[in-house]
């Protein structure tokens, strides 16, 4: 094995960031939040479409687990940009579940349906009232962890 080579590189971003002008971090944060708000409608439509497809897959019960995984990452990807913690946590749990199932080459639609129903409930609940759904989200995680124990994996640490 050859030795590691350690060297410095020019960072153009550093030069640009320090140029005169620009804006303060506070102003950039405010402007980004305004731009995000303008994108919220379309984004939540896309999440709604992904949830509808997941609901249909749960009825059909023939899709490969890869499809469930891809749709749950779609929800996580979009909701994650809006700091939607509950929806992200529920979607992450479904990603984990689908990933475990596909690794085992199995399909178990009952826990998937519970996850999709939970995500739909979160999506339909106004943001101000979502705190009340924390216990439900923890329940989704318990379901996914239960599958890990069946697998013989160590139990995940408490959040």
């Amino acid at each position: 094995m050859s030795d590691a080579e350690i060297f410095k590189v020019r960072n153009r971003l550093a030069n640009h960031v320090s140029e005169p002008g620009g804006m303060t971090a506070g102003m950039a944060g405010t402007r980004a939040a305004r731009e995000l708000a303008a994108q919220q409608g379309k984004s939540y439509e896309a999440i709604g479409e992904a949830l509808e497809t997941l609901e249909w897959l749960c009825q059909d019960k023939s899709a490969p687990m890869d499809s469930v995984y891809d749709l749950s990452t779609t929800v996580l990807d979009i909701a994650g940009l809006f700091d939607d913690k509950q929806l992200c946590r529920a979607a992450y749990s479904l990603c984990e579940l689908a990933d475990k199932l596909r690794t085992r080459g199995a399909a178990d639609w009952a826990p998937i349906k519970i996850h999709v129903n939970g995500m739909r409930l979160i999506w339909n609940t106004p943001e101000a009232s979502r705190e009340s759904l924390n216990a439900m989200v923890e329940g989704l995680w318990s379901l996914t962890e239960h599958l890990s124990i069946e697998d013989g994996e160590p139990e995940a640490p408490a959040a």
Partner: protein
């Protein structure tokens, strides 16, 4: 810990490459960067498109999603660091992760990205990571098994403008001298042995 709201930064002339296969997520990401004042952004829906962009344009920052069909974000960064165009090979990369699939855990650790940001996140967190990447003074390492920023831990304190988590955290940045340099006589006097008075 977030970037102090008064810290000033200029991203107007930075060329930023955004990569995400999810069209809506890419739009949202682009809108966040517009908010940050980035005028020059290139959006790519796949790693293959991004590879083509890097061969033809100068890019200062790459922001890349991890889960993508065909070539995922980790494989893309691995390609960039090893086989990417010379000009872009060591461009700073921020990876955005949703779920870490079992099959990708090892590749995520060794891909060579500068920072990994987990979703969900706020624009403030992303801006802070951009600032950190810009101020990142780590050397690059090239070895058989890894190409990317030096991952060895060295405590250099929080970046300039960021308050540390501990009350006695100090940044390693010394800043510009406030007083004129000492002349040689003053330095000699400091070093001259003197009788101690007990």
């Amino acid at each position: 810990m977030s970037l102090h709201p008064d810290v000033r930064l200029n991203l107007a002339r930075s060329n930023v490459l955004l990569i995400d296969d999810n069209e809506q997520a890419l739009e949202v990401l682009a809108s966040i960067f517009r908010g940050f004042g980035v005028h020059r952004q290139v959006k790519c829906g796949s790693a293959a498109d991004a590879q083509a962009v890097l061969r033809s344009r100068e890019i200062d920052l790459i922001v890349c999603d991890t889960v993508m069909p065909d070539m995922d974000g980790y494989a893309f960064v691995r390609w960039l660091r090893r086989e990417g165009p010379e000009e872009a090979r060591f461009a700073p990369v921020i990876m955005l992760t949703g779920h870490a699939a079992r099959s990708t855990i090892e590749s995520s650790r060794d891909c060579g990205a500068n920072f990994i940001v987990s979703k969900p996140f706020t624009p403030e967190v992303l801006l802070q990571r951009i600032y950190w990447v810009a101020k990142d003074e780590r050397s690059m390492v090239r070895s058989d098994s890894y190409v990317g920023p030096d991952r060895r831990f060295r405590n250099i304190g929080p970046p300039l403008g960021v308050k540390g988590r501990r009350k006695d955290d100090l940044s390693a940045h010394i800043g510009i001298a406030k007083d004129p340099n000492m002349d040689q006589d003053e330095i000699d006097n400091l070093l001259k042995p003197q009788r101690a008075v007990l």
